[in-house]
């Protein structure tokens, strides 16, 4: 007995002490160490999917920064930070704005990570595909950010806290050049719709986005060329029933969408719930009176765009059994946008056109809505058509800017709603936390505390 005790004790003691070389080396169990990852096609592809994973986050609150700042929507109850958007009186510490900024730069970081690890991809066609997707995502991120914030840091490689030169804002013209380059390369590298899984970036998506980038810069001929190519590709078409655009997902009209699944904690979104009175903030992205009165009764889009009482949108009503786990996809680009951009490209900054191709494009969209043909495309009726077609799809804010009427429309809207509008509100504040941590390199936009 005593001997056994002896041996057990000593043995126990010895093993415990001698094995402690490795005793403190705990390896992660439910995650991977990043040394030695990105070694083969599969690992880089998993990193590519992380881009789409990130985009699922980015668009969750985008309506607040776009639709709710326009004349289309506001909050139901004016609660908390959300109410700052509808009054265009956004605090520099607004957490929704800060999250949007951070989430988009996270996507850009993930895209850059892929671009720096492309060498690991052995399959040449996959390598091109991954590069195209990364450049598409990087350009999309920069495009939304530059449109909303003005000059922004341009992140074209993986940056570390030591790369301080990357923290500063870059003139938007340079940002647009980078976006154009990325999208041009992406359009060349990416495959057509049908050749890859629905949801991944395609040649069409890169072309459509690039066309919008060109329109934003007033480069109408370049835009028209891309849109021509898209329209003749045969990859996309308007679906017959406007309702099917939203409730028959991955249809022929979708050029690029972020996909979600019903009743899946990781793959669902919450914005569908937030667009209702049952949302956590008791109703966001609620239709303004202005928008409610805009639709003529015979417009077939009305029933899909607004609920019966016209206060909320019916475009993203969830079908999930759990109201908080909504699966409605978020549509970034669709074919009717291409058609209306085409008319915009032909209008080329002018006030009106009777160009047959422009008319035919706009009338195709109107015909589906059950509306009579136009005989002339004007800046006004094209902008209105876009508003009616894309209400709650985060287009209105950018349309107002691109058509050069943002200040005029929003100051009139502000007057009607009883709040003050300052032209400086057209740019969002750079999140104050980013300024605080930028070693003095990031400056605030004019009109906000700390800005000039």
């Amino acid at each position: 007995m005593r001997k056994i005790l002896n041996y057990t004790l000593c043995l126990g003691l010895m093993t415990a002490t001698l094995s402690c070389e490795s005793f403190l080396d705990e390896k992660p169990i439910s995650a991977l160490g990043d040394n030695g990852f990105y070694q083969n096609d599969g690992e880089v592809e998993a990193a590519v999917y992380a881009i789409y994973d990130g985009l699922q986050e980015v668009v969750q609150e985008e309506y607040a920064l776009t639709e709710m700042r326009s004349d289309n929507s506001g909050t139901k109850n004016s609660e908390g930070e959300w109410a700052q958007f509808e009054n265009l009186n956004i605090d520099i510490n607004n957490s929704v704005v800060a999250r949007y900024w951070a989430n988009y730069y996270k996507v850009i970081f993930r895209a850059n990570t892929i671009l720096e690890n492309l060498d690991a991809v052995k399959d040449e066609s996959l390598r091109q595909q991954f590069e195209g997707e990364a450049k598409f995502a990087r350009a999309m991120g920069h495009f939304y950010l530059v449109s909303l914030f003005g000059d922004i840091p341009l992140i074209d490689k993986v940056v570390y806290t030591s790369n301080q030169e990357a923290f500063a804002r870059v003139a938007s013209s340079a940002v647009y050049t980078a976006i154009t380059n990325d999208l041009t390369e992406a359009a060349a590298l990416l495959l057509d719709r049908g050749a890859v899984a629905e949801g991944r970036a395609t040649k069409g998506a890169a072309q459509a986005l690039l066309a919008k980038v060109y329109l934003t810069q007033g480069m109408y001929a370049e835009a028209k060329g891309l849109l021509d190519a898209l329209m003749s590709s045969g990859s996309y078409a308007l679906v017959d029933d406007f309702n099917d655009v939203f409730y028959n997902e991955l249809n022929d009209e979708i050029i690029f969408a972020i996909q979600y699944l019903d009743d899946n904690e990781a793959e669902s979104q919450i914005f569908s719930l937030e667009f209702t009175a049952l949302g956590k903030a008791s109703g966001l992205n609620y239709a303004t009176n202005d928008l409610q009165d805009l639709y003529v009764a015979e417009d077939l889009r009305l029933a899909t765009t607004l609920t019966e009482d016209k206060r909320a949108t019916a475009k993203f009503l969830t079908q999930s059994s759990n109201a908080e786990l909504c699966g409605n996809d978020w549509i970034v680009l669709r074919y009717s946008d291409v058609l209306l951009m085409y008319a915009e490209a032909i209008l080329a900054g002018g006030n009106a056109t009777t160009d047959a191709a422009a008319l035919s494009a706009v009338n195709a969209v109107r015909a589906r809505a059950g509306l009579a043909d136009l005989t002339e495309v004007t800046k006004e009726n094209l902008l209105l058509e876009r508003r009616l077609e894309f209400a709650f799809e985060n287009q209105r804010w950018f349309d107002l800017q691109r058509f050069g009427v943002a200040e005029q429309v929003l100051s009139a809207f502000a007057q009607a709603e009883g709040f003050t509008f300052e032209p400086t509100s057209l740019l969002l504040p750079i999140p104050q936390r980013e300024i605080n941590v930028s070693s003095g390199l990031l400056e605030q936009n004019p009109g906000y505390a700390g800005g000039n």
């Binding site: 998993a46 789409y52 990130g54 850009i108 629905e198 997902e249 009743d263 759990n322």
Partner: protein, 1017 residues
């Protein structure tokens, strides 16, 4: 450097220990037997009463007996052998056997042995020789406090230890802070040690208070430094009762009582008061007419605070022989909780067993399994009380007539009523103020339970290697298996069945520890020394999983099999290891001059390989002035000790197990309608992270006057926490928002006083008053460039906190309220009932004529300036009576309850179009109006007992029988300006010191009275 040193040391110690062990185990001898019978009796010299349980042993053998209940014994001995009589608290006596057959021995009390001993890390020390700051609480009546938790029973017992009932639902953990908050991201919870073994702090809920002998709190860094990296927030050391040799003693304790919460009358006006207001105001009476027609009134406080009973039974047996001692106990406790659905049941069992194998070797086992069942009150109290008083609980034949049938065609008699049901009545103005479901449905239809099995076990071997040199090795662990079963029924939410779900989570945590400790005691002439050296290995393994089931259309089956959709399945594992080497020398010269030096090296797997080890040295000095010649014969001063301590401790709880590595986490996206797996970079690798360090100095004095009739201590301390592990915000363009770094400094400085007076000490009458007082000041000394950081808890109600250098870690920040908006400028100032306007006038502090963010200022601090308690203990013959008052002053709380209860977001309470001063008001939640004084004075406990006369009790075969009445919080005075139910209730954001002091819907402070009995037989 450090690593190679400690490695060498370790190998040496291992070899040394192994050799010593082998030697001593083989060196024991077994004696022979003999055959003369001797019998006798053992008495106590001072009382002449028989002493049961005295060890009587033949010297140098293992043969022996124990005296029985009458002090009698019988033993076979050989002439010439020596009998040893030993008993705790008495001097050992030796008698050489001649030819006598009977013997009467009188044992003399050993005054030195009687001296109070205090448990310190990896050992004990005479209280008189302590040089650090350690408070000891004996369990005299703590087990009569009707709580399931050891920590709750300690409230007010120890200076410098602030225990707050932050959300006192049945079985809920209070918040413990020893000498303030010393960390920002890392935990500020003290380390918990049970019978010398480090356990998870959660174990404070598993230990039966009746099993506890004493609790020691190591407060200063020099005392806690022997626990190195984990001593930074103080150490709570619990010692459980162990068996005593002798006749087996049984002890039965039980109590039964009621818990309740007094209704707060001014919380909301009654409908009658409101009616009077409306009529007096000459305003719109439309709603009044509707409410009168409806004719219902609900006092939501009475519904939600339904009170409950609490009962406890525990039985223990202890005894054994000289060589084997045991104590075994079992207990059951049941607490209905004061809220509508909360309850807690606990079943626990404990075995402490020690046996001497021979003169040198003894082994011990401790085993403590427990099982608890907890049901929660599922929503915040504010949410339960925020409904209009006219809302009935259920529809009856009368109320059903008012239901809006267009919107609610299916509502029937017996269903939960909700405010919107009463909308759109053709004859009346709408009176609903919220679209929420009835709070009764919210509470009853959510069934949230937490069942936990915990097992604490420890086995140890003690070996006497040589005179004064002992070795102890122990292996033990604590295991926890918990199931969280959160059901939300189809009627629980305004969204109905679409929010019905079952969240089913399981946790399996295992923590094991192996301690190996050598101790050496030496007394030579004037020198007294006690040394400890040891090493310890610990490992934690965590495992958790979760399933979320939704799509329940019925409430019948509340398990996952009835879910039509599995919305989430998740599971993670992680592990952490700690390896330590420690040592301490306590030295006393002439019993007057005391010194202690200790050090510990901790290595943690949480840090990168170059920064794993932290070194935590400490020293302390003491001078027992009363032992000096000039005071030795003083009648006035009976005890006077000056002490000084300096020590370093640490903390690594603020970071995850693998933060030093860059991790890729699995994620997923949707392609083609199907799920694909992604891996995304989770964090920036931080291989240079190192231990948070705390440095503390603590001078103090212990004193006693008039033969220690007046006794006490005084301590001053300053603890500086440096290299805090904090998430440093970084530019998001890097792809990350923060990275963990060591930065910043926090300081806690304070004073602690303990004082007691034995006013009357008499055999039949006694009266003792004792009390303690603590003051702590928390200061943010350096925040590494993120000075004036503003934090919020809830972006929907973004009231602000600020972290400014020179101020406490967190201060309430905002505007100073000037006045209310005049009622005529509100849309309807009289509705909702008890409503308040959302906006108030605020002061233009910088005097620039405009209200801008520059008019914000610091509005208060969530940390108390002063915490005290005073206890009185009386004894009059067989009656004992004690009570304790406790108070806290100077803290404020940001109470968000009024925002909900007073309906500050109701459109009726908005200002109207005539209001001229829209630019002079801000929302009330941004002002000091909701920063309320959290001071309180409470009659924490009161205990009145009667012990039956011994003669009578002996007749029924028992030793002791005592009945008692006990009350908790029977008086609880709060500040006038505090408007909710629990000024201690900082129940949200408490894990983030940057937003400390946020209160929203905290459970109220329960009051209770119980009757109980203690029976020993």
């Amino acid at each position: 450097m450090l690593t190679t040193h400690t490695l060498g040391l370790r190998v040496w110690v291992t070899r040394l220990l192994a050799c010593l062990l082998l030697y001593c185990l083989n060196a024991t001898a077994i004696a022979q037997s003999s055959n003369q019978v001797i019998s006798g009796k053992v008495l106590s010299s001072d009382t002449n009463e028989p002493l049961p349980g005295v060890n009587i042993r033949i010297k140098d053998t293992i043969k022996g007996v124990v005296s029985d209940f009458d002090g009698a014994f019988t033993l076979e001995v050989a002439p010439g052998e020596i009998l040893q009589f030993s008993y705790i608290g008495y001097e050992t006596q030796e008698v050489t056997v001649d030819n006598q057959t009977s013997l009467t021995i009188s044992l003399v009390q050993d005054l030195e042995q009687l001296e109070e001993v205090v448990v310190i890390g990896y050992g004990t020390q005479k209280k008189s020789h302590l040089t650090g700051s350690i408070s000891k609480v004996e369990n005299e009546m703590l087990d009569q406090i009707p709580t399931a938790r050891v920590d709750e029973a300690l409230i007010g017992q120890v200076s410098g230890v602030n225990i707050q009932m932050t959300n006192p639902q049945a079985g809920a953990a209070p918040t413990i802070r020893v000498r303030g908050v010393g960390s920002i991201k890392a935990s500020s919870e003290p380390l918990v040690v049970v019978d010398g073994v480090v356990v998870n702090g959660d174990f404070l809920a598993s230990i039966d208070m009746t099993d506890v002998a004493s609790v020691e709190v190591l407060k200063d860094a020099s005392s806690a430094a022997i626990y190195g990296s984990r001593g930074g927030n103080g150490v709570i050391m619990i010692t459980t009762k162990s068996g005593q040799a002798g006749k087996t003693k049984f002890s039965f304790n039980s109590y039964y009582g009621q818990k309740y919460i007094p209704v707060k009358k001014d919380f909301l006006p009654s409908l009658a008061d409101w009616e009077a207001q409306v009529l007096a105001s000459d305003g719109d009476t439309g709603r009044l007419e509707y409410i009168k027609a409806l004719g219902t009134e609900t006092n939501w406080q009475e519904v939600m605070f339904d009170g409950g009973s609490v009962q406890n039974y525990s039985l223990s047996a202890s005894g054994g022989s000289e060589n084997t001692k045991f104590r075994v106990s079992g207990g059951y406790m049941s607490d209905d909780g004061v809220l509508l659905t909360d309850s807690y049941n606990k079943l626990n069992f404990r075995l402490n067993l020690d046996t001497k194998l021979n003169d040198r070797v003894s082994v011990g086992i401790k085993l403590n399994p427990s099982y608890t069942q907890k049901r929660l009150f599922p929503i915040g109290v504010h949410d339960a009380l925020r409904q209009s008083p006219w809302l009935p609980l259920y529809h009856d034949e009368h109320t059903i007539q008012f239901v809006d049938r267009n919107k609610y065609p299916d509502v029937k008699v017996g269903d939960y009523a909700m405010e919107r049901h009463f909308d759109n009545h053709p004859d009346y103005t709408n009176i609903s103020t919220t679209s929420n479901a009835s709070p009764l449905a919210k509470v009853l239809e959510r069934d949230r339970r937490e069942n936990t099995l915990k097992v604490f076990t420890n086995a140890n071997v003690k070996v006497k290697l040589a005179k004064g040199l002992n070795f102890k090795t122990s292996i033990g662990g604590d295991y926890m298996s918990r199931v969280r079963d959160y059901w939300t029924g189809t009627k629980a939410d305004r969204r109905g069945a679409s929010r019905a779900e079952l969240q089913y989570r399981t946790y399996n945590n295992l923590h094991w520890v192996n301690d190996n400790v050598l101790t050496y005691n030496l007394e030579v002439g004037d020198h007294e020394m006690n040394a400890v050296a040891g090493m310890s290995f610990e490992k934690w393994q965590y495992e958790s999983s979760e399933v979320l089931g939704t799509g329940y259309e019925f409430d019948y089956i509340r398990t996952i099999n009835a879910a039509s959709v599995i919305a989430e399945g998740d599971g993670v594992k992680s592990a952490v290891a700690l390896q330590s080497f420690f040592g301490r020398v306590n030295y006393a010269f002439q019993g007057k001059y005391l010194a202690s030096v200790s050090a510990r090296t901790d290595g943690s797997s949480k840090f990168g390989s170059d920064y794993r080890y932290g070194f935590f040295p400490a020293f302390s000095l003491g001078w027992r002035v009363n032992e000096e010649g000039f005071l030795k014969n003083s009648d006035l001063i009976s005890n006077l000790k000056a002490r000084f301590s300096y020590g370093t401790t640490g903390n690594n709880s603020g970071i995850g197990p693998y933060d030093h590595l860059g991790l890729l986490s699995p994620g997923s996206a949707v392609m083609d309608g199907g799920i694909v797996t992604s891996f995304y970079p989770n964090n920036i690798a931080s291989p240079e992270l190192r231990w948070e360090k705390q440095l503390e100095i603590n001078p103090g004095v212990d004193f006693g006057f008039l033969d220690n009739r007046i006794y006490g201590s005084f301590d001053w301390y300053q603890r500086t926490s440096d290299d805090l592990l904090l998430p440093q915000p970084i530019p998001s363009v890097t792809g990350f928002s923060e990275t963990t770094v060591n930065m910043g400094t926090v300081e806690n400085r304070g004073v602690e006083i303990e004082l007691g007076v034995h006013l009357i000490t008499n055999k039949d009458y006694s009266w003792t008053i004792s009390g303690n007082l603590s003051q702590n000041k928390n200061t943010l000394v350096d925040f590494a460039g993120v000075d004036d950081l503003i934090s919020i808890v809830d972006s929907k109600r973004p009231a602000e906190w600020i972290a400014s250098v020179g101020q406490p870690i967190s201060s309430f920040y905002g505007y100073v309220m000037e006045k209310e908006i005049a009622p005529e400028y509100l849309k309807n100032s009289l509705y909702p009932v008890g409503g308040q306007s959302q906006d108030v006038y605020v002061k233009d502090l910088n005097g620039d004529g405009e209200i801008t963010p520059d008019d914000r200022t610091i509005l208060g601090s969530p940390y108390p300036d002063l915490v005290w308690s005073v206890s009185n203990t009386f004894k009059v013959r067989d009656i004992d009576f004690s009570f304790m008052f406790q108070g806290s002053h100077g803290a404020e709380v940001r109470n968000m309850d009024p925002q909900y209860v007073n309906n500050q977001f109701s459109g009726n309470q908005d200002y109207n179009d005539e209001f001229p001063d829209a630019d002079k008001v801000v929302q009330r939640i941004f002002t000091d109006d909701i920063v309320q004084d959290a001071s309180f004075i409470a009659l924490r406990s009161l205990n009145l007992g009667y012990t039956m006369p011994k003669a009578w009790v002996n007749k029924i075969g028992a030793e002791k029988l005592r009945f008692y009445f006990s009350g908790q919080n029977l008086l609880y005075l709060m500040s006038e300006e505090y408007s909710s139910f629990n000024p201690e209730g900082i129940n949200q954001g408490q894990d983030n010191p940057l937003t400390y002091g946020y209160q929203r819907g905290a459970a109220p402070i329960p009051r209770s009275y119980t009757v109980g009995l203690n029976l020993e037989f």
